[in-house]
């Protein structure tokens, strides 16, 4: 086993695998994927529902199928990967290389070096503590993803009477999953006046099974000292504060939390990568390169995506760009402009664009701050309007992807602003 590589990819989920393939297709031969789990595929392995791959494969696949197709490709292309391997630290060295400290049963504890590193660690779920729900801390309170892993990968029975807090996609998917496993899902409570999950999932995971979605509701108390006995759910006001007197008791043995995902950027921060507080992911340029030269970021560790297809697409680009970095070294990036957000836009990826290193196509991905109907997405550089696109409806649960051709961006002199504009009727 060697210790020096051109590209080390941290994470063997959909982002890491696509990045590896992207790098290999761009001509890079010396790649290593490090995966902490015992198989490639990451979180997709526990996402046994379908709905993956429409963009990538033009058909609907389950998570494991999507993962296996990519894993097969990684293997067929002969890209090395190491499983059950945990990266503990990434450090940028003075010679421009990166030191990657890993441990595994096979290698022991060792420090590898790479010319470029691709961060593809994915995200984790927001735990109960971060939600500050008062009450006891009994058995039976799980994040939706933990329950998903227990049910789908360990074959465990998680509960019989279920309440779900948060209508993120994993919560919705688990409402259906628990129902099919014989549990009764009493309700899905959502703090916001809209669901953070996809509409299709509300239809096929809740409506199909008659599971009520309680918008503007939250769990205000948890009962049961050792084992969960029930929860109180209350309506909330415009400021998301529970309204007294609206509490209703739901007896249950299981409470699932689906209250948001947080990119896992502890390694990134340790490597000196600046983190955007809006996404909890790295600030990157159009090449998906972070502020640390030769360190790239893609997939859910960069920003939480709605569709794995977009993760794959983005990560393939990150891989190709890392390969180019290894080949050409520090690129002449030319003039750099910032991508700023205006009305209705929460964040953009990238947050800056180097005009001297543009690809034929540049993606700008973002999410909106609320529900917008009959509006236009507008992108301007100073007074120069680069794009205006009408949209019937925009929702925060959907990640928007705008693709700009090189000629639209070349020669810009002012920062780029992305915003939502009401359409004049």
């Amino acid at each position: 086993m060697k210790n020096e590589y051109n590209i080390i990819i941290i994470g063997g989920g959909p982002a890491g695998m696509a990045a590896a393939i992207g790098a290999k297709e761009a001509g890079e031969e010396d790649i290593l994927i490090l995966e902490r789990d015992g198989v490639l595929g990451g979180i997709l392995n526990q996402c046994i529902h379908n709905g993956f791959g429409l963009h990538t494969f033009n058909e609907e696949l389950t998570g494991p199928e999507y993962a296996e197709r990519y894993a097969d490709k990684v293997k067929a292309m002969g890209i090395p990967y190491e499983l059950d391997t945990m990266v503990l630290d990434v450090t940028a060295l003075s010679d421009g290389k990166k030191a990657v400290s890993v441990i595994s049963s096979k290698r022991g504890a060792v420090t590898l070096t790479a010319k470029a590193v691709i961060l593809a660690m994915g995200c984790r779920e927001r735990p109960r503590g971060a939600l500050n729900i008062p009450g006891f801390r009994p058995q039976g309170v799980y994040t939706a993803g933990t329950a998903q892993k227990l049910v789908n990968l360990e074959g465990a029975k998680v509960g019989k009477e279920v309440v779900i807090l948060g209508s993120g996609d994993i919560g919705l998917i688990m409402a259906r999953r628990m129902t099919l496993e014989g549990a009764h899902v009493a309700a899905v409570a959502e703090l916001m006046p809209y669901s953070s999950g996809l509409k299709r999932n509300i239809v096929q995971c809740l409506d199909d099974y008659g599971i009520p979605l309680l918008l503007s509701h939250t769990v205000v108390d948890i009962k049961g000292k050792e084992k969960l006995e029930g929860v109180y759910i209350a309506r909330v006001d415009e400021k998301n504060q529970p309204i007294e007197g609206t509490e209703e008791y739901y007896p249950c043995d299981t409470l699932l939390l689906s209250c948001g995902l947080i990119p896992e950027n502890e390694l990134s921060s340790g490597a000196g990568v600046s983190i955007d507080p809006r996404t909890n992911g790295a600030y990157v340029n159009e090449s998906l390169e972070t502020n640390v030269e030769g360190v790239f970021s893609c997939g859910n560790v960069l920003h939480v995506h709605d569709l794995v297809d977009f993760v794959s697409e983005e990560s393939t680009r990150a891989g190709a760009n890392a390969a180019r970095y290894v080949r050409e070294g520090k690129a002449a990036k030319g003039r750099e402009v910032s991508v700023t957000v205006g009305n209705g836009v929460r964040y953009t990826v990238p947050s800056r664009i180097s005009l001297g290193a543009l690809d034929d196509m540049t993606h700008i991905r973002f999410r909106v701050t609320g529900v917008f109907k009959n509006v236009s997405i507008v992108i301007k550089s100073g007074e120069n309007e680069i794009l205006r696109r009408k949209s019937r409806i925009l929702v925060p649960s959907e990640m928007l992807d705008i693709i700009l051709k090189r000629e639209k961006l070349e020669g810009l002199s002012e920062d780029i602003n992305v915003f939502i504009e009401e359409v004049q009727q």
């Binding site: 022991g108 060792v110 984790r124 008062p134 058995q139 933990t146 227990l150 465990a156 948890i222």
Partner: protein, 470 residues
């Protein structure tokens, strides 16, 4: 027949067992929970108090100072986390007579290294203190400790030296008998010459099983918020506020494992099992904590919890032989500074027993105890060596705290090993990090299930397995 039955496997019960197991005595520790450290010991501020707070002349004062003196050496011998991080008591009033009174108490209690400093001097040491701080008492001997590890260390060493532990074993009654006592439990009767009542919030109920003298324990609820390790350096000392009648007020402190902790509230309650947090309580922690330290990163809270203090009715620890029950010793009302005092209480209980029964030291005892190897704390070379010897240390189970499969296997297979998720967490920190067991619990559950020979869904977070109640 056991020489000593200790009721309660918390810090006090285990410290007493640690002390008594050095002697030629048969010692049995019983607890209604499935693990040691399941009551008041598992949720508190984890502070080794210097001893400036207790009324001079009380047991609290004496045992606090003694416990504080013993702690560092014990932490080395028994391998538990301890750090002398100093403490400050903040005064927000221009009138600093409250601090002067504390300083006087400290002197009377024999606490060394205590001085009064100005608000600016305090801010120079702790830049995140608020501008409202007028002056502070600085206590150099104050420290932080891991209460779980400390209690486990006492228990494991006592076990090695011959003490027996009966867990998931609730005391249902005690009868006086010609030779001493018959302790009735959910797992059968135990004959005992001596009984130590270290039952925490239940000490009054145990006491009433043998004695007619009054003893009332009031559970006092304390709510806490624990913040991520990235907030751990926000203060480096334990920051108290001048004590009020309801206790020491809200403190803000780093923990020995590098998190930031704020709390506790203080509310007297009736329910001895009520460890729920409340909206009001958590709001109080935020509001009062913010008096001391500005901009506490409450957005980095990873969990909140409630602990109960077992408050006695005499304003002091109640550690004595019962006047109407010979050789029945209460160790009751062990509220703060109970954790600090625990080793001294163990020693004191041994002295009380020694006055009544001649004790003889065992010829050979294990003086030290080796804890679970904390992989994350090792150097890369040490980690490499460990993995080469035992490959399970090369598999990370808990990503947030870098806990390996090797550590979890050790935690569930060592004597008095963990049988629940919380047990694994307290021994290894797996699940104690920022994702709060989201990623690692299925793996930890699978490892426990395999060890216990049960189905994964039957692995408990805490509490007693039904199969164990016979």
């Amino acid at each position: 027949m056991a020489d000593v039955v200790i009721i309660g496997a918390g810090a006090v019960g285990c410290a007493a067992a640690y002390e008594l197991a050095k002697y030629k005595l048969s010692v049995v520790v019983v607890d209604k929970e499935s693990d040691v450290c399941e009551g008041t010991t598992k949720a508190n501020s984890a502070i080794v108090h210097a001893g400036f707070d207790a009324e001079p002349g009380t047991l609290k004062a004496r045992l606090n100072v003694r416990g504080s003196e013993m702690m560092e050496e014990l932490s080395n011998k028994l391998d538990f986390a301890y750090k002398r991080n100093e403490a400050m008591v903040l005064c927000f009033d221009k009138d600093i007579s409250g601090l002067e009174a504390l300083k006087e108490k400290a002197d009377k209690n024999g606490v060394k290294g205590v001085s009064i400093i100005s608000g600016d001097e305090a801010r120079a040491l702790e830049p995140n203190l608020t501008d409202e701080v007028q002056a502070a008492l600085l206590a150099k001997t104050s420290a932080i400790v891991c209460p779980f590890e400390m209690t486990l260390a006492f228990a494991e060493n006592a076990y090695t030296n011959g003490a027996e532990f009966k867990l998931s074993c609730a005391v249902t009654g005690i009868d006086k008998d010609s030779g001493g006592y018959i302790v009735h439990t959910s797992k059968g009767d135990i004959k005992a010459r001596c009984v130590i009542n270290a039952a925490g919030v239940y000490a009054d109920r145990i006491h009433a099983m043998v004695s007619g003298t009054p003893l009332k324990i009031t559970p006092r609820k304390g709510e806490y918020m624990l913040m991520d390790k990235t907030a751990g350096g926000y203060v480096s000392r334990t920051i108290f506020q001048l004590p009020t009648k309801m206790g020491k007020g809200i403190l803000v402190t780093p923990t020995v494992h590098g998190n930031l902790l704020a709390g506790p509230t203080a509310e007297n309650i009736d329910d001895k099992e009520n460890t729920s947090t409340t909206k009001q309580g958590l709001a109080d922690v935020k509001a009062k904590g913010s008096l001391s330290v500005k901009n506490i990163p409450f957005n980095k809270v990873i969990t909140s919890f409630t602990g109960l203090r077992a408050v006695g009715d005499r304003g002091d620890f109640i550690i004595e032989e019962c006047s109407d029950a010979p050789l029945f010793f209460d160790a009751a009302g062990i509220e703060s500074p109970g954790l600090t005092s625990a080793p001294a209480i163990g020693e004191y209980l041994r002295e009380l027993i020694e006055k009544r029964i001649p004790l003889e030291k065992k010829e050979k005892i294990a003086e030290t105890r080796k804890g679970i190897t904390h992989f994350a704390a090792l150097s890369e070379e040490e980690q490499d060596k460990l993995i080469k010897e035992t490959p399970a240390y090369g598999k990370i189970v808990c990503r947030c705290e870098t806990v390996t499969e090797g550590e979890i296997l050790d935690a569930i297979s060592r004597p008095l090993g963990a049988t629940t998720l919380d047990g694994v967490k307290r021994r290894t920190r797996a699940g104690m990090g920022r994702c709060q067991a989201g990623f690692c619990s299925p793996t930890s559950m699978a490892l426990i299930a395999k060890k216990l020979g049960i189905r994964i869904e039957d692995v408990r977070k805490n509490g007693v397995y039904e199969s164990e109640v016979r």
